[in-house]
């Protein structure tokens, strides 16, 4: 329960709305932004999976984990049955995957994507490695080598096609200026100055949770503008 008083407030599960309005009231809403906000309001009847996962990571919130467990255990079991066709293995997968969710939750950040995709890839990778172990395959290659994490992968792509990358960067720069100023500032701190979330929050004098919300909204919107996501 350490750090609860320091950061718990900004990521509290029970008041999910706390940071959110601030992130979008800084400047005038574009139609797209209003739409996204609306969509987000509709989804967030209870705490979102992201809020729960952050609460688990930041303050070891067992109640939040319990809710994630209820939401995901059957889905994980179903994936296990599909991939292994073995009830015992699928059962083991539920334990291994959710154990990984618990232990790795402090590494989860909103810029790692949605909680759902984070849990999906982690479950797929656990299952892949479980099956490899069961088949007694050599341990040279693991799921993390096959599906490198985004951060890793960007750095190690040695064969990037330079031309199209340059186009993408130009596009990103153009779309970036369409974001609300507050989101631009956060993205600038993280992606241009390469600061940690904590450093960026201190620099901008905003709570960590606010920073993460703005980052998530900003990045999500950039993705929509660039056309990599609907």
């Amino acid at each position: 329960m350490q750090n609860l008083s320091a950061v718990g407030n900004s990521i509290s599960v029970r008041s999910p709305q706390r940071d959110r309005p601030r992130a979008v009231t800084i400047s005038e809403k574009t139609p797209l932004e209003a739409e996204m906000e609306q969509a987000e309001r509709e989804i967030s009847a209870g705490p979102t999976d992201e809020e729960l996962l952050l609460a688990v990571g930041v303050s070891q919130d067992r109640q939040a984990f319990n809710t994630l467990f209820q939401r995901f255990s059957k889905k994980i079991f179903a994936m296990g049955m599909k991939l292994t066709r073995n009830e015992q293995l699928a059962h083991d997968l539920v334990q291994e995957a959710l154990m990984t969710v618990w232990t790795k939750a402090p590494l989860y950040d909103l810029d790692r994507g949605t909680a759902q995709s984070w849990i999906f890839t982690l479950t797929r990778n656990r299952c892949f490695d479980m099956l490899r172990k069961k088949k007694r395959q050599p341990q040279t290659i693991s799921s993390d080598d096959i599906w490198p994490q985004e951060g890793d992968a960007e750095m190690s792509f040695v064969h990037e096609e330079q031309g199209s990358q340059a186009v993408e960067i130009a596009q990103i720069e153009r779309f970036y200026t369409e974001l609300p100023v507050a989101q631009q500032a956060v993205i600038e701190q993280i992606y241009i100055f390469d600061r940690t979330h904590e450093e960026a929050a201190a620099e901008l004098e905003i709570p960590l949770g606010t920073l993460k919300s703005r980052l998530r909204l900003g990045v999500a919107k950039l993705r929509v503008l660039i056309g990599v996501e609907e």
Partner: protein, 237 residues
Amino acid sequence: MTSANHHPSDEVLSDFAQGKLSTGMSVALSAHIELCQSCRQRSSELESREIVAWLQADQMQPSASPDFSGMLDLITSQPQMTGEAVVEPDREPAPLVSEIHMLDHSITLPRVLAKAASNGLVWHKLAGGINQAQVQIDNETQCEFLYMTPGSQVPVHRHQGNEITLVLDGGFEDEFGHYGPSDFVVRDRRDQHQPSTEEGCLCFAVLDSPLTFTSGLARLFNPINNYRFRRATSQRY
């Protein structure tokens, strides 16, 4: 690097995203995706689609509800990783032997292949100017780096299963076309082909069952081929 002209199908990319393929095939896919920006994007779209399908699926499942009681307490009694300690090394690329030195130049390998080759490659000369270095990746496929010296030709062969060839450097031709760097070439049991190369070619190949040579004296190689494949996958038997 020129971009690839031959790509995996959506079906294969989607199976890959779901973790359905053998480790050998997954390694070939992962390497191609690192080399090919369009497949990287396509694969991430297909993965998103699979995630949506996964999230919706269990509502349609019959009410088989397995018993997970007791798991919760066990899990939450475990220590968590600390963010700071792990995030940083996470971002540093792993130090890998990532180059293969050929006659007069060296080739930088995609990350996953560098890992596969990290125990060292032992090259064997086969007939017709072909050099082969096998890597042990799983028990279901035969994975190997192949280096065809300039002007060499593989005997006509047919496959009992699937053969994936990922071109890493140079290029080769067969009856169906020419293949250059980053190309992902799939041949299945219907295809009988005879690869040859003018310029020389380094590739990574994954076979999910032995080749069958179909012409002339090369037929004599068949028992040996089966033997090779069994040896490569011996832990299974």
